[in-house]
């Protein structure tokens, strides 16, 4: 641990696979590490497990690679120099000037994510190098009835099971697109749910266009085969090129409409059929959480699935010198890629801070090769599951696109067609879509797709959120005063309020 007041060598934000791998590697290389996470325990979304108080006897039951996590946790416990800062909700990352230490501004004492009743206190963590391993959140594509009770996200269903909580229902349709569907369906079936159908919007043929990426990743195929075999055991057969285009029910979901999809995901008229169920788990892949970096102007790349990921150099450094990223922030790629990238980034950071070569060179080469293979596979997968533009056809005019502010698809379409909105920001200004609690994390994709319908639309830039999480004004007000950045000499001095 550094002396009080000194910055850490490296701050690792996020204690999921990427962050854990990075923190243990950096600490084993002799660096002082601050490991921050909003949750009260390490693991992130992927290694999510019941809190110790729940006394779960077998948290590993739902994790095929629980041993990897257990190993990382052991190394973390053994490592000197890692300060574990759990329960830290980071709302901003700043740096006074290029080359000066990074500051992470965090709220603590807020309990768990969902208990935000007590105002937190502010704290600032400083570090010479910064590693973002903030993971991703789920991508949502709304459809009529998606706000009914009983409709959950595929990731949310997984998380509930991993946390030792109940099943979302007894007869659960799983729908959407991407590998998470198979994982969720397997977990739900294993936990005792009846999964009548798995509805996948893409065709798995998309993968066949990337034979090299497949051949280089036998592990990924084994994983898919394992899910496939497990599903067969439960007599679940994935149905491709189809989507749930409506959920029905009075007080909660009672049935869903499944439609076949054309090539661009446009529902095929007349193909609708009804499937009875009491829950629907729906997922359309993941969106990298990059706002702390994009707010600083960090360069991004548009991934094949339409999401923005941070643009990285060969050793995981972003376009801002001193800021590295690993895991889903650099493009959704799964836990294996996250582990590799975390280790790689930690070695690169060690080399930069100590001035030594990132030893051993063979390890570094192997990590880079493995990372490149996994990335190629992730890109192939992203391309195969990218939502087709025709999906917005299944939005009814009165379908709520933004749940927080209750903004319907019709209002968003009107803002675009009649009032000159062309991107999510202008849609937000004209309709309030994205202004509520989730700050557009849920409705962002849908709004961007609807805004892109304008013939002269400009591609939506990546999200910039100056506050990554809500902060009480009292906490902001009690921060230590700092000198404002020097103003230009001719800066006018009077302070009109507007």
């Amino acid at each position: 641990m550094p002396s009080p007041g000194d910055p850490y060598d490296v701050a690792v934000l996020g204690a999921g696979p990427a962050g854990l791998a990075a923190a243990v590697t950096a600490a084993e290389q002799g660096l002082t590490v601050a490991l921050l996470d909003a949750a009260q325990q390490p693991g992130g979304q992927y290694y999510r497990h019941p809190a110790p108080a729940a006394r779960a006897t077998r948290p590993d039951a739902l994790h095929h690679d629980w041993r990897v996590f257990a190993g990382l946790r052991e190394r973390l416990d053994a490592a000197e120099g890692v300060t574990r800062l759990y329960g830290h909700h980071v709302w901003s990352m700043t740096r006074e000037a290029p080359g000066s230490p990074w500051s992470l501004h965090a709220l603590t004492g807020e309990g768990d994510d969902d208990d935000a009743s007590a105002p937190g206190t502010g704290t600032t963590v400083q570090a010479r190098a910064m590693l973002l391993a903030t993971g991703s959140h789920e991508r949502h594509l709304p459809f009529p009835g998606w706000t009914l009770p009983g409709v959950v996200s595929a990731g949310g269903a997984q998380a509930m099971l991993k946390s030792g909580l109940a099943l979302p229902g007894t007869r659960v349709v799983v729908a959407g697109s991407g590998p998470l569907l198979l994982a969720a369906a397997t977990s739900l079936a294993a936990a005792g749910a009846d999964v009548p159908e798995v509805i996948e919007a893409s065709g798995y043929l998309g993968y066949a266009r990337h034979p090299a990426a497949l051949a280089a990743n036998p592990g990924k195929l084994t994983e898919a085969a394992r899910h496939g075999a497990a599903l067969l055991r439960h007599r679940v057969r994935p149905r491709t090129r189809s989507a749930v285009t409506e959920a029905h029910g009075a007080d909660r979901v009672e049935a869903v409409t499944v439609s076949r999809l054309g090539r661009d995901w446009r529902p095929v008229p007349g193909s609708e059929r009804r499937v009875a169920c009491d829950a629907l788990a729906v997922g359309h892949g993941l969106v990298p959480r990059t706002e702390l970096a994009t707010t600083l102007g960090c360069a991004t790349r548009r991934a094949a699935d339409g999401t923005y990921a941070l643009e990285l150099g060969p050793l995981q450094e972003t376009s801002l010198r001193g800021l590295w990223a690993a895991g889903e922030t650099s493009g959704v790629g799964g836990a294996q890629a996250a582990l590799v990238e975390g280790e790689l980034a930690a070695l690169a950071i060690t080399a930069r801070l100590t001035g030594r070569r990132p030893a051993p060179a063979r390890r570094l080469r192997a990590l880079r090769r493995r990372r490149d293979h996994l990335r190629a596979f992730a890109d192939a997968m992203a391309a195969a599951h990218a939502p087709g533009p025709g999906w917005t056809r299944w939005l009814g005019d009165d379908t709520e696109v933004c749940r927080c502010e209750e903004v319907t698809a019709a209002r968003v379409r009107e803002a675009v067609a009649d009032y000159g909105a062309r991107d999510p920001r202008s849609v937000k200004l004209l309709t309030r879509a994205g202004m509520g609690w989730c700050q557009g994390r849920v409705c962002g994709t849908a709004v961007a797709c609807l805004a892109a319908a304008a013939p002269d639309a400009t591609p939506a830039p990546p999200d910039r959120r100056l506050l990554a999480t809500p902060v009480p004004l009292g906490t902001l007000a009690s921060l230590t005063p700092a000198d404002p950045p020097p103003a230009a000499p001719d800066d006018p001095s009077e302070g009109h309020p507007s």
Binding site: S103, S426, L473, P481, D491, G495, P497
Partner: protein
């Protein structure tokens, strides 16, 4: 907003107008503004005259527009926390009254009648019933939409102007964009903080610089703040001639529930990165005025760039150096409020009508003799 107001009045006067924007409607400073329509913060002079005219025009525009633009004549309340501040505020209010502003002194023990949640230890204040509020992006979008409906406005979004076209004699004949040429005998520069760049395309200098401001937005709250409330601190500072940089938080509720707290001011170019210090100051000033806000969470913050000119007055009118070029920019933080009067003045120039007020203080060429900015 300024462009929308110019287009509105010009098309209403029978002119055919094309509005070109490189982005969407309200994509620049308009979308980052709070929608302050203030007379209370202006000293007697040309800007206040423009603001008073705009106040009247905004009432008309609001009556013609759907309620969606969220126009609300909520009034402003300026409060003092020391005797010195109160003295300076009272003196300013007296001058403003002579210039036509309605301002009522409020003693300390009556402040709660206006704002029940104000801090109890303030020394007094002034109530300005003419201060109003509008949702600027919606206002701009609705004005443009109405003008499109007249058949005399064509709206070209996502199209960036790359050149100002001129005749051999130097007069303007239109603009060029990536999609082609737009011919017009008049070009109105309503590009706000980017006004200097467009002026340079026409070969003239207009020393507009950006001044960054942050706005904090809280979670939706029950009605806690009724007026636009801000501290008289800045009045005292102006009176004392202090050169220190100020942030004066304006606190106000919105119809949708969130409380807006704006706005800091810094000259840092077009840098959108977060200044934690600016947010700290805004939050501490807001919670100083309304202690109950300390528990409210800020959901988001955003930055915008006020277009400012060295003498803090906008540039409105024809540029004698390039016949056919008019400027309507540089309104600093008051652009939404001053938009209608600006639009009316510009339309007057275009149609050679009698100006509604003396435009000479806003003449764009007034900086021409100063050295060009670096």
């Amino acid at each position: 907003m300024i462009g929308a107001a110019c287009a509105h009045y010009a098309s209403r006067a029978g002119l055919h107008v094309t509005v070109v924007d490189r982005g969407p409607v309200a994509g620049g400073t308009t979308g980052a503004g709070e929608g302050n329509l203030l007379v209370s913060d202006k000293e007697p002079g040309p800007e206040l005259r423009l603001a008073l005219l705009s106040t009247r025009l905004w009432t008309e525009l609001a009556a013609e527009s759907p309620p969606d633009i969220e126009y609300e004549r909520k009034g402003g309340l300026v409060v003092a926390s020391t005797e010195a501040e109160l003295t300076a505020l009272r003196a300013l209010a007296a001058e403003q009254r002579r210039a036509g502003v309605t301002a009522a002194d409020v003693p300390a023990d009556r402040l709660a009648d206006h704002e029940p949640h104000l801090a109890p230890d303030l020394t007094g204040g002034c109530h300005y019933p003419q201060d109003a509020q509008v949702q600027p992006a919606l206002a701009a979008a609705h004005l443009l939409r109405a003008a499109v409906g007249t058949g005399r406005l064509s709206l070209r979004l996502g199209e960036e102007v790359t050149a100002v076209l001129t005749e051999k004699g130097g007069a303007v004949r239109g603009v060029r964009t990536a999609k082609g040429e737009i011919r017009a005998p008049h070009v109105v520069n309503a590009t706000g903080a980017w006004g200097g760049r467009l002026a340079r395309m026409a070969g003239v200098e207009l020393p507009i610089r950006p001044r960054r401001g942050f706005v904090l937005v809280t979670e939706p709250l029950p009605r806690l703040v009724r007026h636009k409330v801000y501290s008289a601190e800045y009045v005292a500072d102006v009176a004392s001639g202090s050169a220190a940089l100020q942030t004066s938080a304006v606190v106000e509720g919105t119809q949708a529930g969130p409380v807006l707290i704006g706005a800091s001011r810094e000259r840092v170019g077009f840098d959108r990165a977060l200044s934690v210090e600016a947010l700290r100051r805004l939050a501490s000033q807001a919670t100083r005025l309304f202690p109950a806000l300390a528990r409210a969470r800020a959901l988001r913050a955003y930055a915008g760039f006020r277009p400012y000119l060295p003498d803090h007055l906008p540039a409105i009118g024809p540029d004698p150096r390039v016949p056919g070029l008019l400027h309507a920019c540089g309104h600093e933080g008051a652009g939404i409020g001053l938009a209608p009067a600006t639009g009316l003045l510009i339309t007057g120039f275009l149609t050679e009508a009698e100006p509604p007020l003396d435009p000479s203080p806003f003449a764009p060429e007034r900086f021409a003799r100063e050295p060009a900015p670096p």
